[in-house]
Symmetry: C2
């Protein structure tokens, strides 16, 4: 039988840290929107990057977001973590250069397979990639495992 | 170079139909919430099931939802579909039996690995599993592929 258990904060953070891909949800006028994002953990925050578009527009209007990561094993076991937080841009201007460079470097390490692909079309379209962080307010997780 | 292309409705529906797992986002008071759900396509709708809990509570209060499915290949290619829709319960009472039975049977086919695990603890805790459908209002999709 499958048993579903709560994960403690340490387990939640470990799963977040191992994830390179999360699903990021934002909302406008009560309508949620969810998309996959390349992500990494930087200190206490999650960092990500995006092209300009609907999710960035929505997060600027309402910074409340939720990011979810999961991992499935070959059997029926899985782990899923949900983090609630607030979107903050790491703008390309004085005062933000250090944070922005740190985010770029962390993302380049963990999301190498995605970043170059993500960045090339951006460079082509002459818009800068947008780096952001999610300041985590709360984190919860559940895991399923085979029980007796 | 990776090129990102819009998917047409037929491609979007094909990906939705092949998916057994989606990420379902709902929102309350501007706060989004996203969790993985076992899902299947039934006619024009998405059907799923859940235990009673936060997401069901939130979707009852605000039926606007968003469901996202994706598929990653071994290279840098991926496809992702986002469907906006409205949550509707398929309650366990007269007038809903046929729809509910259809949903249960569609889910049992496509989500066999998950359903029995999901159902056993429910039976134990003596709460009924909740079946629901998402009436799709809009669907969009993007895919990334290697270009020149």
């Amino acid at each position: 039988m499958t048993v579903i258990l709560e994960m403690d904060r340490t387990e939640c953070l470990a799963l977040l840290e191992s994830a390179q891909l999360g699903r990021l949800a934002c909302a406008r006028d009560g309508q949620p929107y969810v998309v996959p994002v390349s992500m990494a953990v930087m200190g206490e925050d999650i960092v990500g990057f995006s092209l300009e578009g609907q999710k960035v527009e929505w997060m600027r209007a309402n910074p409340k977001v939720c990011i979810q990561v999961d991992e499935f094993d070959k059997g029926r076991g899985w782990r899923s973590v949900v983090a609630y937080g607030r979107f903050e841009e790491l703008p390309d201007r004085i005062g933000w250069k250090v944070e922005r460079e740190k985010a770029r470097s962390v993302l380049a390490q963990s999301a190498e397979w995605w970043l170059p692909g993500g960045l090339k079309p951006v460079a082509k379209s002459r818009t800068s990639p947008l780096f952001f962080r999610i300041v985590i307010d709360e984190i919860t997780g559940r895991r399923a495992q085979q029980g007796d």
